[in-house]
Symmetry: C2
């Protein structure tokens, strides 16, 4: 437990993350890293976000999974460019995986890249990918106690999406307690209540994201 072999990996990842970010900034692309447990609804939320914003922004998706192409195929079915990364066992994405995925995308023709990280509330937290913002999703069936158990991911996220609020009546989810703990861990992060598969609540989340994208473009002096 005292052996820390992670530092050289993290240092290398940070260096490559800075390179990714410079490349994104130069192209005027905003990059979002979407994190959540397996089955919290990352892909559904991404599809709902695309539906809300595709008239305003040119969007692509990078899908991260241990195995399978299920998610990239779902995204492509909506006419959105998507690249699938299979980590082959790794529990999170790293910057060099993103670099190679971006090589397969028309970067100059995009405004927004959404990265769907591997389903995991722990490992993705420590890995900067060069993104502009990390955002996390918790789904109601996972339970309101998750911020106690996985505080790190709630702290690094700039916004928290609470998904599957439509099934709240069937679960013992104490939303007041959840909100209180999230606010204590991360007072600035807004919490968006959504039901991604039904499109409920997606607009408020999408407008927050749009404001972030537009602010980044102004900051970069981009004219697009």
């Amino acid at each position: 437990m005292e052996i820390d072999l992670s530092k050289p990996i993290l240092d290398r990842n940070e260096r490559l993350a800075a390179e990714n970010r410079a490349r994104f900034d130069a192209a005027g692309v905003f990059v979002l890293d979407m994190m959540a447990s397996p089955g919290a609804g990352k892909t559904s939320t991404i599809l709902a976000t695309i539906a809300a914003l595709r008239d305003r922004y040119r969007i692509a998706v990078i899908e991260g999974d241990i195995a399978s192409k299920v998610d990239a195929e779902k995204v492509k079915a909506h006419g959105i460019p998507a690249v699938q990364i299979n980590t082959g066992g790794a529990c999170h994405l790293e910057s060099d995986m993103i670099r190679r995925a971006v090589d397969a995308l028309p970067l100059d023709e995009l405004d927004l890249i959404i990265i769907e990280n591997v389903g995991n509330l722990v490992c993705p937290t420590d890995f900067n990918l060069g993104e502009n913002a990390k955002v996390m999703i918790l789904s109601v069936p996972e339970g309101h106690d998750k911020p106690y158990k996985y505080p790190g991911i709630f702290q690094v996220s700039e916004a928290v999406i609470l998904n599957k609020v439509d099934v709240m009546p069937y679960f013992d989810f104490d939303e007041e307690e959840f909100t209180g703990v999230v606010k204590s861990l991360n007072p600035k992060a807004p919490i968006f209540r959504i039901a991604a598969t039904k499109g409920e609540g997606v607009q408020a989340w999408a407008e927050w994201l749009a404001a972030r994208i537009d602010a980044a473009k102004v900051g970069l002096g981009s004219t697009s």
Copy 2:
């Protein structure tokens, strides 16, 4: 991605796992490693398993979490010895954490230790803790496609528990497809359908576990 720093960690873990296992065998204790995503219902399933088996076996629980003592407190409230491990960031339990936790338990007065691993479908898969069996839980809200995305955990588990079957009507969960993929990954593993918080289906799972515990005791020549 080509740098593999994990081998020395895994080798050391295997050595300590063998030491743990020798200790468990000598004491005649069966050890179960319970794995699942955050919020799949590990603690609820453990509590339901305790309720089903506490008249037959002397049980203790080792709880693994990044942070918090929530789960150990829940177990102790039922009069069952419980030790909480906080990994402080690590996404899985390792053998030396288990060794230290076991030091805090009355090993000679136990028949069964249930380890609740950190909520994660990836990292716990690679770490032998000295347990007799690994078992995993998937909950209905996570979706039927998870075996495609996280095949490893379905392959190392000796049984698969499908939890929260009571909310099946509210989710788009294709149970036939789920069962088919699990069987293709791991033909021998039984799948137990349960609703842990309601006690539904728990008896069949508990009987499978009891048969494994009894078989191990016979194998060890234990007379308890």
